[in-house]
């Protein structure tokens, strides 16, 4: 159920990208502004998607692992940590996530240095994820209580 929230945020990301590009075209009527918003928004949309996929891959085995043994105290904590460390996908955590971040930074640097962009529109584009999270939470809060509790898994 919680995964639905992330899927919804991704969907709203794409909607914000499309509506933002349309609004920039209608209001500014210049390619530069549309390009700035579109590139910023696309970068953050892809970043969110890859972050989600990466994190899901890291915790894939943990989610499949099931319940921990019923032990108390420090022994249980140490056992939990060892089990958790064994179940984490280290390749995804140590290689793929840093590579994703490096690609994101490279993309932003290349766009800012070599692209003909308007910084304000680029920053608004980079705020797409914030806007999407806000919109998804507003839509979640406006839902009826029983549907909300069902979606929250309570």
């Amino acid at each position: 159920m919680q995964e639905e929230m992330l899927t919804e945020i991704e969907r709203i990301n794409v909607i914000v990208l499309a509506i933002g590009c349309l609004a920039a075209t209608v209001i500014m009527r210049e390619f530069r502004y549309v390009f700035s918003f579109g590139v910023g928004s696309a970068i953050m949309t892809l970043n969110f998607r890859f972050l989600r996929k990466g994190m899901e891959k890291v915790f894939q085995k943990v989610q499949q692992g099931g319940e921990p043994p019923a032990l108390d105290g420090n022994e249980a904590q140490a056992l939990d940590r060892n089990q958790l460390a064994k179940r984490l996908n280290k390749k995804a955590l140590m290689i793929k996530l840093p590579l994703k971040f490096l690609a994101l930074v490279t993309a932003v640097i290349l766009v800012v240095l070599y692209g003909d962009i308007n910084v304000i529109f680029f920053l608004i584009g980079l705020s797409t994820v914030f806007i999407s999270i806000l919109l998804s939470q507003i839509s979640f809060a406006l839902k009826p209580a029983d549907e909300r509790s069902k979606q929250h898994g309570a």
């Binding site: 919680q2 899901e56 915790f59 989610q63 940590r81 958790l84 994101l104 980079l126």
Partner: protein, 108 residues
């Protein structure tokens, strides 16, 4: 001691800030280099603070999430969603700072 240290640090920051403003206003010839120096300083310190804060925030978020998942692996799905959202938001803030720092750097 801690208070004295923070007061001294604040004084240092204000001195640097006001020296820059005062020196920038002095001469037309000196203005350019002083302003450029301040821009370089702002660009470096800005991205430094953003990276430091972002790394600290992401580290704390992931550590807390792993602690929670370690204690209760069954709740990993519920813990993972807010963590991903939090990480995305922290990353966005660092990227904002990177863009602003790059724009400042391009003015040099």
């Amino acid at each position: 001691m801690k208070k004295l240290f923070s007061i001294l640090m604040l004084l240092g920051v204000f001195t640097v800030l006001f020296c820059g403003v005062a020196m920038a206003a002095e001469e037309a010839k000196g203005l350019d280099s002083q302003v450029k120096a301040m821009i370089a300083l702002a660009s470096g310190i800005g991205i430094g603070i953003a990276a430091f804060g972002g790394a600290l925030g992401q580290g704390k978020a992931v550590a807390a999430a792993l602690e929670g998942i370690g204690r209760n692996p069954g709740a990993s799905g519920k813990i993972l969603t807010p963590m991903i959202i939090g990480l995305a938001m922290i990353e966005s803030l660092v990227i904002y700072s990177l863009v602003v720092s790059l724009m400042l750097f391009l003015k040099l």
